[in-house]
């Protein structure tokens, strides 16, 4: 840090941000958005497979399943809202074993 910035910091005058940092930050955000900008067909395929996977364990309100990608500030998230109607107890038995939970 040079003398000038020490003085500037001391008296609270902020130096203007370097344009390189602005470019990098803008790029980071725009790429985050570009990378989640995918086709409806692609999302339908993801949704189809997720419904199939979850359905092995629980009955779900298939028509009301909502799946979406969100670009946050630092990461991309896949957010799924899947209404659960009923847990499949047979599947639970097979996985948890007979003795756990006292189920027969």
């Amino acid at each position: 840090m040079g003398l000038l910035s020490v003085i500037q910091n001391a008296i609270g005058v902020q130096k203007k941000q370097k344009s390189k940092s602005v470019a990098k930050e803008r790029l980071r955000q725009v790429l985050l958005r570009d990378r989640v900008d995918i086709s409806p067909q692609f999302m339908r395929a993801v949704r189809y497979d997720m419904v199939a996977a979850v359905s092995r364990y629980m009955d779900i309100g298939e028509d009301d399943v909502k799946i979406q990608l969100y670009a946050g500030e630092y990461k991309v998230s896949l957010v799924a809202d899947i209404p659960v109607l009923k847990i499949k107890h047979l599947a639970r038995l097979q996985i948890d074993g007979n003795n756990k939970n006292g189920l027969v």
Binding site: M1, G2, L4, K18, K20, S21, D34
Partner: protein, 264 residues
């Protein structure tokens, strides 16, 4: 058996054709038998950049359509032993050559040449997909600018989807003084954002304009800094270990003084 390298970028005007010309010539200067293929059908330019525009009789589309033999369309560059050009058609449209035809052509050229360097059209449409069909490796050209890096990212994603792994990054038109001032993204910034392996860097160099004017690739000129950068890049592509060019500009006494006081 040779190797097919495609030079691509997404964005236009970042130096794909210049890069193709210099890498191709660089291979020839290293004693490799090389051919440059202009896949930018309808907008051919590699011929003028190479100064070979008056030697064209047949082109890529003639070969594919069976109007001539492959050997009849290939131009041998008399200035550089081992260097050849297969020009694009200027009058046909981008879809005159299909991906399958391009793949077949590249396989045929691989038998005869150590390196096949394909100059890809800008954009992400069919022309791009056709051009990369026969490629073993891709070189992504970008400049340290937001728009070029964004498009490079798009191309990297498309190449990944098409099963072309391990693209290499070439950062072109770097201005060391602007980087020092904090007004241009530096090499690490761009590599970090795109997260692919760095093949090389090419500093901005006015001589590139001169070399294009004359139709003489800069790589053949030992006093051109960009030319030397391209020479390093060609050497890395043939498997040599070459350190990155030191692009830091020489600091003046006054510059150091300014930095000390925080004015830079």
């Amino acid at each position: 058996m040779g190797e097919v390298i495609v030079v691509t970028s997404g964005k236009g005007g970042v130096g794909k054709t210049t890069t193709t010309a210099n890498i191709g010539t660089g291979f020839a200067l290293l004693g490799k038998k090389a051919i440059m293929v202009d896949a930018d059908i309808g907008l051919r330019n590699l011929d003028v950049v190479m100064g070979l525009e008056n030697r064209i009789v047949y082109d890529l589309v003639d070969v594919v359509e069976g109007n001539c033999d492959l050997n009849m369309a290939i131009i041998r560059d008399k200035r550089f032993e081992n260097l050849h050009l297969l020009p694009a058609a200027q009058t046909k449209d981008k879809n005159a050559v299909t991906a399958d035809q391009m793949g077949m052509l590249c396989r045929e050229l691989m038998l005869d040449f150590d390196y096949v360097v394909v100059d890809c059209p800008a954009g992400i449409e069919q022309g791009f997909r056709n051009a990369i069909a026969g490629a073993d490796r891709a070189v992504i050209v970008t400049t340290p600018e937001v728009s070029a890096v964004r498009d490079a990212d798009r191309i990297i994603g498309l190449l990944e989807d098409m099963g072309k792994s391990g693209p290499l990054l070439l950062i072109n038109r770097i201005r060391p003084q602007m980087i020092q001032k904090g007004d241009m993204m530096d090499i690490e910034d761009v590599v970090e954002i795109l997260s692919i392996s760095l093949l090389g860097i090419v500093p901005e160099d006015e001589y590139i304009v001169v070399s294009t004017n004359r139709g003489e690739p800069a790589v053949a000129n030992p006093s051109s800094v960009a030319g030397q950068a391209y020479k390093n890049i060609a050497r890395r592509l043939v498997g040599e270990e070459v350190p990155l060019m030191d692009i830091r500009s020489k600091e003046t006494f006054f510059g150091r003084l300014k930095k000390l006081f925080g004015f830079s």
